[in-house]
Protein backbone atom coordinates (compact mmCIF):
# COMPACT_ATOMS: atom_id res chain seq x y z
CA UNK A 1 0.00 0.00 0.00
CA UNK A 2 1.32 3.39 -0.89
CA UNK A 3 1.26 6.03 1.81
CA UNK A 4 -0.04 9.33 0.46
CA UNK A 5 1.47 11.53 3.17
CA UNK A 6 0.26 14.70 4.85
CA UNK A 7 1.38 18.29 4.64
CA UNK A 8 0.80 20.03 7.97
CA UNK A 9 -0.34 23.58 8.50
CA UNK A 10 3.29 24.49 9.17
CA UNK A 11 4.22 23.19 5.76
CA UNK A 12 5.99 20.17 7.19
CA UNK A 13 5.59 16.91 5.34
CA UNK A 14 5.23 14.44 8.14
CA UNK A 15 4.15 11.13 6.72
CA UNK A 16 4.71 8.90 3.74
CA UNK A 17 4.60 10.24 0.25
CA UNK A 18 3.00 9.24 -2.98
CA UNK A 19 5.31 7.50 -5.41
CA UNK A 20 4.37 9.67 -8.36
CA UNK A 21 3.71 13.34 -8.98
CA UNK A 22 5.51 16.32 -7.58
CA UNK A 23 7.09 16.45 -4.15
CA UNK A 24 7.25 19.44 -1.79
CA UNK A 25 11.07 19.30 -1.82
CA UNK A 26 11.28 19.40 -5.62
CA UNK A 27 11.39 23.19 -5.68
CA UNK A 28 14.42 23.22 -3.37
CA UNK A 29 16.61 20.68 -5.14
CA UNK A 30 18.13 23.20 -7.55
CA UNK A 31 18.85 25.57 -4.65
CA UNK A 32 20.48 22.75 -2.70
CA UNK A 33 22.72 21.91 -5.65
CA UNK A 34 23.87 25.53 -5.85
CA UNK A 35 24.20 25.68 -2.05
CA UNK A 36 21.61 28.35 -1.52
CA UNK A 37 21.23 29.21 2.17
CA UNK A 38 17.47 29.71 1.71
CA UNK A 39 17.08 26.27 0.13
CA UNK A 40 18.94 24.62 2.98
CA UNK A 41 16.77 26.41 5.54
CA UNK A 42 13.62 25.35 3.73
CA UNK A 43 14.70 21.73 3.50
CA UNK A 44 15.74 21.77 7.14
CA UNK A 45 12.35 23.16 8.15
CA UNK A 46 10.61 20.43 6.18
CA UNK A 47 12.81 17.53 7.23
CA UNK A 48 14.40 18.19 10.63
CA UNK A 49 11.65 16.72 12.81
CA UNK A 50 11.31 13.55 10.73
CA UNK A 51 15.06 13.01 10.61
CA UNK A 52 15.38 13.66 14.34
CA UNK A 53 12.57 11.20 15.08
CA UNK A 54 14.21 8.54 12.92
CA UNK A 55 17.58 9.04 14.64
CA UNK A 56 15.92 9.05 18.09
CA UNK A 57 14.12 5.81 17.31
CA UNK A 58 17.42 4.28 16.28
CA UNK A 59 19.66 5.64 19.05
CA UNK A 60 17.38 6.29 22.02
CA UNK A 61 19.35 9.42 22.86
CA UNK A 62 17.98 12.81 21.98
CA UNK A 63 21.25 14.72 22.11
CA UNK A 64 23.15 12.23 19.99
CA UNK A 65 20.24 12.17 17.55
CA UNK A 66 20.38 15.95 17.24
CA UNK A 67 24.09 15.72 16.49
CA UNK A 68 23.47 13.07 13.84
CA UNK A 69 20.87 15.27 12.14
CA UNK A 70 23.21 18.26 12.20
CA UNK A 71 25.95 16.15 10.68
CA UNK A 72 23.58 14.97 7.95
CA UNK A 73 22.91 18.56 6.89
CA UNK A 74 26.60 19.46 7.02
CA UNK A 75 27.26 16.43 4.82
CA UNK A 76 24.55 17.66 2.50
CA UNK A 77 26.40 20.97 2.16
CA UNK A 78 29.57 19.09 1.23
CA UNK A 79 27.83 16.81 -1.26
CA UNK A 80 25.16 19.19 -2.57
CA UNK A 81 26.47 19.17 -6.12
CA UNK A 82 26.22 15.37 -6.20
CA UNK A 83 22.50 15.31 -5.39
CA UNK A 84 20.65 13.90 -8.37
CA UNK A 85 16.98 13.51 -9.09
CA UNK A 86 14.01 15.21 -7.48
CA UNK A 87 12.78 16.01 -3.98
CA UNK A 88 12.23 12.34 -3.20
CA UNK A 89 15.85 11.58 -3.98
CA UNK A 90 16.94 14.42 -1.73
CA UNK A 91 14.73 13.12 1.05
CA UNK A 92 16.05 9.59 0.66
CA UNK A 93 19.62 10.95 0.65
CA UNK A 94 19.01 12.67 3.98
CA UNK A 95 17.49 9.58 5.60
CA UNK A 96 20.34 7.50 4.29
CA UNK A 97 22.84 9.97 5.72
CA UNK A 98 21.12 9.88 9.13
CA UNK A 99 21.04 6.08 8.99
CA UNK A 100 24.78 5.97 8.34
CA UNK A 101 25.27 8.42 11.21
CA UNK A 102 23.30 6.11 13.48
CA UNK A 103 25.32 3.07 12.38
CA UNK A 104 28.51 5.02 13.13
CA UNK A 105 27.14 5.78 16.58
CA UNK A 106 26.40 2.07 17.12
CA UNK A 107 30.01 1.32 16.26
CA UNK A 108 31.21 3.95 18.72
CA UNK A 109 28.97 2.51 21.41
CA UNK A 110 30.21 -1.01 20.76
CA UNK A 111 33.65 0.18 21.80
CA UNK A 112 32.23 1.50 25.06
CA UNK A 113 30.95 -0.93 27.72
CA UNK A 114 27.20 -0.64 28.22
CA UNK A 115 24.79 -2.08 30.77
CA UNK A 116 22.86 -4.88 29.01
CA UNK A 117 19.08 -5.17 29.12
CA UNK A 118 18.30 -8.11 31.39
CA UNK A 119 14.54 -8.29 31.09
CA UNK A 120 11.73 -6.23 29.75
CA UNK A 121 10.04 -3.94 32.27
CA UNK A 122 6.52 -4.83 33.31
CA UNK A 123 4.64 -1.99 31.65
CA UNK A 124 5.00 0.94 29.32
CA UNK A 125 5.27 4.13 31.34
CA UNK A 126 4.07 7.51 30.21
CA UNK A 127 6.96 9.62 29.02
CA UNK A 128 7.68 13.29 28.64
CA UNK A 129 7.40 14.29 24.95
CA UNK A 130 10.66 16.19 25.37
CA UNK A 131 12.34 13.28 27.14
CA UNK A 132 15.91 12.50 26.20
CA UNK A 133 15.28 8.73 26.09
CA UNK A 134 12.55 6.30 25.12
CA UNK A 135 10.70 4.51 27.86
CA UNK A 136 12.72 1.49 28.93
CA UNK A 137 10.24 -1.13 27.79
CA UNK A 138 9.99 0.21 24.28
CA UNK A 139 13.75 0.57 24.05
CA UNK A 140 14.21 -2.96 25.32
CA UNK A 141 11.89 -4.24 22.60
CA UNK A 142 13.48 -2.18 19.86
CA UNK A 143 16.89 -3.20 21.14
CA UNK A 144 16.09 -6.82 20.38
CA UNK A 145 15.49 -6.08 16.73
CA UNK A 146 18.37 -6.13 14.32
CA UNK A 147 19.52 -2.69 13.17
CA UNK A 148 17.97 -3.34 9.77
CA UNK A 149 14.62 -4.34 11.27
CA UNK A 150 14.72 -1.41 13.65
CA UNK A 151 15.43 1.02 10.80
CA UNK A 152 12.58 -0.38 8.73
CA UNK A 153 10.06 -0.20 11.57
CA UNK A 154 10.99 3.36 12.56
CA UNK A 155 10.98 4.60 8.98
CA UNK A 156 7.59 3.01 8.35
CA UNK A 157 5.73 3.60 11.59
CA UNK A 158 7.33 6.76 12.99
CA UNK A 159 8.36 8.72 9.92
CA UNK A 160 5.74 7.25 7.62
CA UNK A 161 7.86 6.35 4.61
CA UNK A 162 6.42 4.01 2.02
CA UNK A 163 8.10 0.63 1.50
CA UNK A 164 9.50 1.93 -1.79
CA UNK A 165 11.15 4.84 -0.03
CA UNK A 166 12.43 2.61 2.75
CA UNK A 167 13.99 0.40 0.08
CA UNK A 168 15.81 3.43 -1.32
CA UNK A 169 17.03 4.53 2.10
CA UNK A 170 18.25 1.06 3.02
CA UNK A 171 19.71 0.27 -0.38
CA UNK A 172 17.44 -2.72 -0.82
CA UNK A 173 14.79 -4.00 -3.21
CA UNK A 174 11.10 -3.42 -2.73
CA UNK A 175 10.41 -7.15 -2.29
CA UNK A 176 13.19 -7.53 0.29
CA UNK A 177 11.98 -4.46 2.13
CA UNK A 178 8.46 -5.84 2.39
CA UNK A 179 9.86 -9.05 3.83
CA UNK A 180 12.05 -7.19 6.31
CA UNK A 181 9.14 -4.98 7.35
CA UNK A 182 6.83 -7.91 7.84
CA UNK A 183 9.27 -9.82 10.01
CA UNK A 184 10.23 -6.71 11.99
CA UNK A 185 6.63 -5.73 12.65
CA UNK A 186 5.68 -9.21 13.81
CA UNK A 187 8.67 -9.48 16.08
CA UNK A 188 8.19 -6.04 17.61
CA UNK A 189 4.49 -6.66 18.17
CA UNK A 190 5.29 -9.90 19.94
CA UNK A 191 7.96 -8.26 22.06
CA UNK A 192 5.70 -5.41 23.07
CA UNK A 193 2.86 -7.80 23.84
CA UNK A 194 5.16 -9.90 25.96
CA UNK A 195 4.84 -12.99 23.77
CA UNK A 196 8.54 -13.77 23.76
Amino acid sequence: MSNSGLLTAQGVWITGLTETGSHPLDVHVAGIRTRSDAAFRAVYAAMADDLLSFAFGMLNDRKTSEDVVQQAFVELVRNADKIRGDGRSLRAWLYKSVRFGCLDEYRRRSRRPEVPHETLPDAVVETDPLADHLDPMLEAALGQLSKRHRSAVILRHVVGLSPDEIAKVMGSTRRATYAVLSRAETKLRDLLDGVS
Binding site: G57, V74, L130, H157, L192
Partner: protein, 204 residues
Protein backbone atom coordinates in the same frame (compact mmCIF):
# COMPACT_ATOMS: atom_id res chain seq x y z
CA UNK B 1 -3.63 -6.92 8.23
CA UNK B 2 -1.78 -3.71 9.01
CA UNK B 3 0.15 -3.79 12.26
CA UNK B 4 -0.24 -0.67 14.38
CA UNK B 5 2.27 0.59 16.90
CA UNK B 6 0.77 3.27 19.12
CA UNK B 7 3.74 2.73 21.42
CA UNK B 8 5.96 4.28 18.78
CA UNK B 9 4.19 7.64 19.09
CA UNK B 10 6.68 8.61 21.77
CA UNK B 11 9.51 8.20 19.29
CA UNK B 12 8.28 11.20 17.34
CA UNK B 13 10.16 14.33 18.38
CA UNK B 14 10.00 18.01 17.55
CA UNK B 15 13.28 19.85 17.14
CA UNK B 16 13.79 22.28 19.99
CA UNK B 17 14.18 25.92 18.93
CA UNK B 18 17.69 26.26 20.36
CA UNK B 19 18.74 23.07 18.56
CA UNK B 20 17.18 24.29 15.33
CA UNK B 21 19.17 27.54 15.64
CA UNK B 22 22.36 25.62 16.34
CA UNK B 23 21.82 23.35 13.35
CA UNK B 24 21.07 26.22 10.99
CA UNK B 25 24.15 28.02 12.28
CA UNK B 26 26.23 24.95 11.50
CA UNK B 27 24.72 24.73 8.01
CA UNK B 28 25.40 28.42 7.34
CA UNK B 29 28.95 28.01 8.60
CA UNK B 30 29.50 24.99 6.32
CA UNK B 31 28.05 26.94 3.39
CA UNK B 32 30.39 29.87 4.09
CA UNK B 33 33.41 27.59 4.35
CA UNK B 34 32.40 25.95 1.11
CA UNK B 35 32.03 29.33 -0.59
CA UNK B 36 35.46 30.41 0.66
CA UNK B 37 36.88 27.11 -0.58
CA UNK B 38 35.25 27.66 -3.96
CA UNK B 39 36.75 31.14 -4.20
CA UNK B 40 40.14 29.71 -3.26
CA UNK B 41 39.86 27.04 -5.93
CA UNK B 42 38.74 29.66 -8.44
CA UNK B 43 41.81 31.75 -7.64
CA UNK B 44 44.03 28.71 -7.97
CA UNK B 45 42.44 27.88 -11.30
CA UNK B 46 42.95 31.46 -12.49
CA UNK B 47 46.62 31.28 -11.54
CA UNK B 48 46.98 27.94 -13.31
CA UNK B 49 45.30 29.26 -16.46
CA UNK B 50 47.45 32.38 -16.39
CA UNK B 51 50.55 30.22 -15.99
CA UNK B 52 49.55 28.07 -18.96
CA UNK B 53 48.87 31.16 -21.08
CA UNK B 54 52.09 32.85 -20.03
CA UNK B 55 54.24 29.79 -20.53
CA UNK B 56 54.81 30.33 -24.27
CA UNK B 57 55.63 34.00 -23.63
CA UNK B 58 58.05 33.06 -20.89
CA UNK B 59 59.55 30.36 -23.10
CA UNK B 60 60.19 32.91 -25.85
CA UNK B 61 61.65 35.35 -23.37
CA UNK B 62 63.87 32.58 -22.01
CA UNK B 63 65.44 31.93 -25.41
CA UNK B 64 68.12 34.59 -24.84
CA UNK B 65 68.67 33.67 -21.21
CA UNK B 66 72.18 32.74 -20.14
CA UNK B 67 73.43 31.00 -17.00
CA UNK B 68 72.61 33.18 -14.01
CA UNK B 69 69.42 34.58 -15.52
CA UNK B 70 66.09 33.88 -13.83
CA UNK B 71 64.65 32.34 -16.98
CA UNK B 72 67.65 30.14 -17.70
CA UNK B 73 66.22 27.08 -15.88
CA UNK B 74 63.08 27.42 -18.00
CA UNK B 75 65.20 27.54 -21.13
CA UNK B 76 66.96 24.33 -20.11
CA UNK B 77 63.66 22.73 -19.12
CA UNK B 78 62.13 23.18 -22.56
CA UNK B 79 65.31 22.24 -24.38
CA UNK B 80 64.41 18.55 -24.76
CA UNK B 81 61.28 19.66 -26.62
CA UNK B 82 63.30 21.94 -28.90
CA UNK B 83 65.78 19.14 -29.48
CA UNK B 84 63.04 16.92 -30.88
CA UNK B 85 62.71 19.31 -33.81
CA UNK B 86 66.37 20.22 -34.15
CA UNK B 87 69.01 17.88 -32.79
CA UNK B 88 71.76 20.49 -33.01
CA UNK B 89 69.74 23.05 -31.10
CA UNK B 90 71.49 22.51 -27.76
CA UNK B 91 74.95 23.12 -29.29
CA UNK B 92 73.81 26.25 -31.06
CA UNK B 93 72.18 27.52 -27.89
CA UNK B 94 75.32 26.89 -25.83
CA UNK B 95 77.41 28.76 -28.39
CA UNK B 96 74.92 31.59 -28.46
CA UNK B 97 75.08 31.74 -24.67
CA UNK B 98 78.84 32.16 -24.82
CA UNK B 99 78.43 34.98 -27.31
CA UNK B 100 75.77 36.68 -25.18
CA UNK B 101 77.92 36.36 -22.06
CA UNK B 102 80.79 37.94 -23.93
CA UNK B 103 78.56 40.74 -25.22
CA UNK B 104 77.40 41.35 -21.68
CA UNK B 105 81.01 41.60 -20.54
CA UNK B 106 80.62 38.68 -18.15
CA UNK B 107 83.62 37.67 -16.01
CA UNK B 108 86.27 35.79 -17.93
CA UNK B 109 86.07 32.69 -15.78
CA UNK B 110 82.34 32.42 -16.41
CA UNK B 111 82.82 32.68 -20.16
CA UNK B 112 85.69 30.21 -20.08
CA UNK B 113 83.56 27.72 -18.20
CA UNK B 114 80.73 28.08 -20.69
CA UNK B 115 83.16 27.73 -23.60
CA UNK B 116 84.07 24.32 -22.22
CA UNK B 117 80.44 23.35 -21.92
CA UNK B 118 79.73 24.57 -25.45
CA UNK B 119 82.64 22.67 -26.96
CA UNK B 120 81.49 19.48 -25.25
CA UNK B 121 78.10 19.90 -26.88
CA UNK B 122 79.23 20.63 -30.44
CA UNK B 123 79.28 17.73 -32.88
CA UNK B 124 82.45 17.11 -34.86
CA UNK B 125 80.92 18.23 -38.14
CA UNK B 126 79.74 21.62 -36.89
CA UNK B 127 82.82 23.65 -37.83
CA UNK B 128 80.74 26.79 -38.00
CA UNK B 129 79.96 26.53 -34.31
CA UNK B 130 83.59 25.79 -33.45
CA UNK B 131 84.62 28.84 -35.40
CA UNK B 132 82.16 30.96 -33.47
CA UNK B 133 83.51 29.68 -30.17
CA UNK B 134 87.08 30.27 -31.30
CA UNK B 135 86.18 33.78 -32.29
CA UNK B 136 84.84 34.49 -28.82
CA UNK B 137 87.96 33.05 -27.25
CA UNK B 138 90.16 35.26 -29.43
CA UNK B 139 88.07 38.32 -28.69
CA UNK B 140 88.24 37.49 -25.04
CA UNK B 141 92.02 37.49 -25.28
CA UNK B 142 91.93 40.88 -26.90
CA UNK B 143 89.58 42.21 -24.27
CA UNK B 144 91.85 40.97 -21.53
CA UNK B 145 94.76 42.73 -23.13
CA UNK B 146 92.81 45.95 -23.44
CA UNK B 147 91.60 45.84 -19.86
CA UNK B 148 95.10 45.30 -18.60
CA UNK B 149 93.89 43.18 -15.74
CA UNK B 150 95.79 39.98 -15.07
CA UNK B 151 97.62 40.82 -18.32
CA UNK B 152 98.96 37.32 -18.89
CA UNK B 153 100.24 38.11 -22.35
CA UNK B 154 102.23 41.22 -21.38
CA UNK B 155 103.70 39.53 -18.35
CA UNK B 156 104.78 36.68 -20.49
CA UNK B 157 108.40 37.06 -21.58
CA UNK B 158 109.07 36.96 -25.31
CA UNK B 159 109.72 33.41 -26.48
CA UNK B 160 113.26 34.09 -27.47
CA UNK B 161 114.04 35.73 -24.12
CA UNK B 162 112.58 32.98 -22.01
CA UNK B 163 115.02 30.69 -20.39
CA UNK B 164 112.33 28.21 -19.51
CA UNK B 165 111.53 25.43 -21.85
CA UNK B 166 107.77 25.32 -22.24
CA UNK B 167 106.31 22.09 -21.13
CA UNK B 168 103.48 21.39 -23.50
CA UNK B 169 101.99 17.96 -23.88
CA UNK B 170 102.64 16.65 -27.30
CA UNK B 171 98.97 15.96 -27.98
CA UNK B 172 97.66 19.41 -27.18
CA UNK B 173 97.92 23.00 -28.25
CA UNK B 174 100.10 22.00 -31.17
CA UNK B 175 97.90 23.59 -33.76
CA UNK B 176 95.57 25.93 -31.99
CA UNK B 177 95.25 29.52 -33.00
CA UNK B 178 96.57 30.60 -29.59
CA UNK B 179 99.62 28.40 -29.60
CA UNK B 180 102.12 31.01 -28.58
CA UNK B 181 104.34 28.32 -27.05
CA UNK B 182 104.28 29.66 -23.55
CA UNK B 183 103.89 28.14 -20.12
CA UNK B 184 101.94 31.14 -18.90
CA UNK B 185 98.15 31.10 -18.83
CA UNK B 186 96.13 32.47 -21.71
CA UNK B 187 92.40 32.38 -22.27
CA UNK B 188 92.85 29.69 -24.85
CA UNK B 189 94.94 27.66 -22.42
CA UNK B 190 92.36 27.92 -19.73
CA UNK B 191 89.77 26.56 -22.09
CA UNK B 192 90.21 22.86 -22.40
CA UNK B 193 90.13 21.94 -26.04
CA UNK B 194 87.96 18.94 -26.35
CA UNK B 195 88.07 18.87 -30.10
CA UNK B 196 89.36 15.79 -31.86
CA UNK B 197 93.00 15.94 -32.93
CA UNK B 198 92.08 16.15 -36.60
CA UNK B 199 90.05 19.31 -35.97
CA UNK B 200 92.77 20.94 -34.00
CA UNK B 201 95.33 20.19 -36.67
CA UNK B 202 93.14 21.68 -39.33
CA UNK B 203 93.07 24.95 -37.40
CA UNK B 204 96.76 25.50 -37.85
Amino acid sequence: MTVRFPELEQVRLATRPEVRDRHLEAVSSALSQRARGSRGRARLLAVAVAAVLLLPVAALAAEDAVPGDILYPLKRAIEPVVQVFDSSAPAERRVREVEVLFERDAPDEVIVERVDVARDTIHDDRHDLRDRIDRVVQELEVRRDQKGTERPVEERPPPNESEEVPVVPSDSRDGSSTSTSSSTTTVADSVSDSRPAKDRRSDG
